[in-house]
């Protein structure tokens, strides 16, 4: 037989991958050279959607990563530990890795890739970002001849589903979240999704590939969607925008070989004619700008057994092809080639447009006062709309031109201290 897999985990993704590999008709013929040699599970007694010989299933995961016959470890168990330790042990034992685990890679990437480079093995992670969408391999290969200027993704299906429904139904965040939990689109503890942490893991990985350097997860600025209100969605709509949770990595002063970049996750007003504006529901999309390619977008299912199994299997296929044809040298299109860290621009230095909503006590002259505070800090306004009333308070919405975030924040603090201002319920960035 051919290349031997040790699969760690037989949940949704593991089961999907086994089903794909067991049913090779009409797929790449190289898949037939793969043997599902060992599958590590928590319990042998559970009934399963796939049939595997008794000799294949086992509960001792250490034995799988230590088995000298295993060529590739497919880590689809999720979570930080024991996934991290098992991956490191397998690498030490000279095995290639395929993983769908964005959390482990974004947190322990340095440790994992340093050991992988030392051991001369590959760590493949197409399934870690964008579900079934081919994005990791295109960034390593086809797109890597470009100077990447920005990577902007809708990379979390749960929050995109929630925002899409809020938009279509005019509903509140909390109502849609509760319903999404009932329907299985959001988890019982939705923190990782709605706070943007899952998206932060993913943009750290994409930024690392696009800008060819390591990213510290704590350098990724992160704002979730809890504070997005139906009021803001409605105003955004009127102004020609939809609100999306975007994960963004972009160069600040291109072009150079190690440009400072900004890496961040936050709800964002997206112009309706932007390709990302029409990505709805649980779908994901990654929009990439580069020189000389221009703008490309990769769109598809962000999660699900089939989509993720497709990405996991494509990584396995890449490794099998490489094992069959390559000499000992690492293939520069599969491996990780950077060891330095990317230079991250602080948020205060970011240049972006803003949307802000003010509740004001006193109508006469208040727009003038807001305008003066902004003007003093060099913040120029694209539009100022007095939109309506909430009780006795007047509601004013402004959209700025591009400003330095630090300047905008200072102006905002000054506005906040004006007696005419009751509160500033929303501040959102604009793409």
């Amino acid at each position: 037989m051919g290349v031997k897999l040790g699969i760690l985990g037989l949940g949704t993704v593991g089961t999907g991958t086994v089903q794909l590999l067991q049913d090779g008709t009409g797929r790449h013929p190289l898949l037939q050279e793969i043997e599902i040699y060992k599958v590590g599970v928590r319990s042998l007694d559970k009934s399963r959607a796939v049939t595997l010989p008794k000799s294949v299933l086992m509960t001792d995961l250490d034995a799988i990563v230590n088995d000298p016959k295993v060529d590739i470890i497919v880590e689809v168990m999720g979570g930080l530990e024991p996934a991290r330790s098992l991956i490191l042990k397998a690498i030490e034992n000279g095995k290639h890795i395929v993983t769908a685990n964005k959390a482990v890679i974004s947190r322990f990437g340095e440790e994992i890739f340093t050991s992988a480079n030392k051991a001369g093995v590959y760590v493949m992670l197409e399934a870690a970002v964008g579900g079934g969408i081919p994005v990791i391999q295109p960034l390593k290969q086809s797109l890597s001849v470009n100077r990447i200027q920005s990577v902007t993704g809708i990379v979390n299906g749960t929050t995109n589903y929630i925002l899409t429904r809020m938009q279509l139904e005019g509903s509140n965040f909390s109502d849609v979240l509760a319903d999404a939990q009932k329907l299985g689109y959001a988890e019982a503890d939705p923190t990782a999704d709605v706070e943007g942490l899952d998206a932060a893991d993913k943009i750290a990985i994409l930024a690392s590939l696009a800008f060819d350097g390591r990213i510290k997860l704590e350098d990724v600025y992160c704002e979730g969607i809890r504070q997005v209100s139906k009021t803001d969605i409605a105003y955004a709509e009127k102004l020609g925008f939809v609100i999306k949770l975007l994960a963004i990595a972009q160069t600040v002063i291109p072009p150079s070989s190690n440009p400072p970049i900004s890496v961040r996750v936050h709800p964002t007003l997206v112009p309706k004619n932007h390709p990302l504006a029409s990505i709805n529901g649980v779908n994901n999309a990654i929009f990439i700008e580069g020189e000389p390619i221009g703008q490309v977008m990769l769109f598809g299912p962000g999660a699900g057994a089939g989509a993720t199994a497709s990405s996991v299997s494509s990584d396995i296929l890449n490794l099998v092809a490489s094992l069959k044809t390559s000499t000992a040298l690492p293939n520069p299109l599969l491996g990780c080639r950077h060891q330095h860290y990317c230079q991250i621009t602080p948020m205060a230095e970011l240049v972006t447009r803003f949307y802000a909503r003010f509740l004001t006590r006193d109508q006469s002259g208040v727009i003038g006062k807001i305008g003066t505070c902004f003007g003093d800090r060099g913040v120029s306004l694209e539009s100022v709309v007095q939109t309506g009333f909430q009780g006795e308070l007047a509601e004013i919405v402004v959209v700025t031109h591009d400003v330095r975030e630090g300047d905008f924040r200072q102006a905002l603090a000054e506005i906040h201290s004006l007696p005419a201002i009751d509160s500033i319920p929303s501040v959102l960035r604009v793409l």
Copy 2:
């Protein structure tokens, strides 16, 4: 120095590629191991946007493909001859090929890939379809673990530009074409674009990769956009569709290892909520459905110096990586792996929805008569709308459910012979 390129042609694409390769900062470091060794041009005297040493430029293209020092031939001259002969000669001399030439590949693919397999060299063609969009390599690699069910593309920028403007402006085909020619979006002889021939070349290539078999270009059914009227665009809009020139390859009876497929290019009514409906202007997009991945779409610039240079350079990068790491064995993810022909389903056997517009002389009972003719052939109607009048004639628009095209055509012939029918100005398929 490293890998030596012989570039044939220094037009838009050739110049873009040289510019990219000469300016390596911020791109994949492997590009620095490439030497632009010879560039074949028609005239040495022409002033050029790139600076190359005198020893590099030459007019004797045969000498370049016969030069034993050249590792890779980059064919960016276009046209059928001498491109075909030079490619074949280079292959015979053991050189790898990168080409942007869809016409040569779709017509002479069998001859070219047979010699390449014999000589053990690769023929790379990312730039032949979809400009800068990474689609060829994803189809060979990431997506190839899937059973592909359909590939549906907007792969011709000129016709998409024309249809988009007709849609937005309510203009006639001939007026928009004339303006597009003035603006440089359409060529003086627009035949290859507006008749769908360019899209046919491209879908033949995509189908071959997606369904893992060769395609005879003459088996690709092809209908252009000349007959698309502003009237039909307006009706389609009312019914919830936009009209796009789609290039489609799809399995008819999935799944099997060599399923019969339908390969075709024609103007198509696309539901407004379909991801392809919002692809406007000169952009291209390729929408792919597979099992188990579901639906993915790859979107980007369909033409232009920068986009095409990105694809050409990514092919060069792939070859250089392969030359640096691989043994003599062909890499199964780069090479062509099929030698048989795909089984093509005749159009009469296609199952699809239709849109048809009738001009009728006699209103009373005519809808009933049309309905009866369709019913007799088992064609069921989704909607029948009597939409207005053109002079004394009443206009009736129907959209069918899925029908066998042969049955639909027979019913249409019967309807055409009814005394109440003046004419059938439009028949279009619906996605």
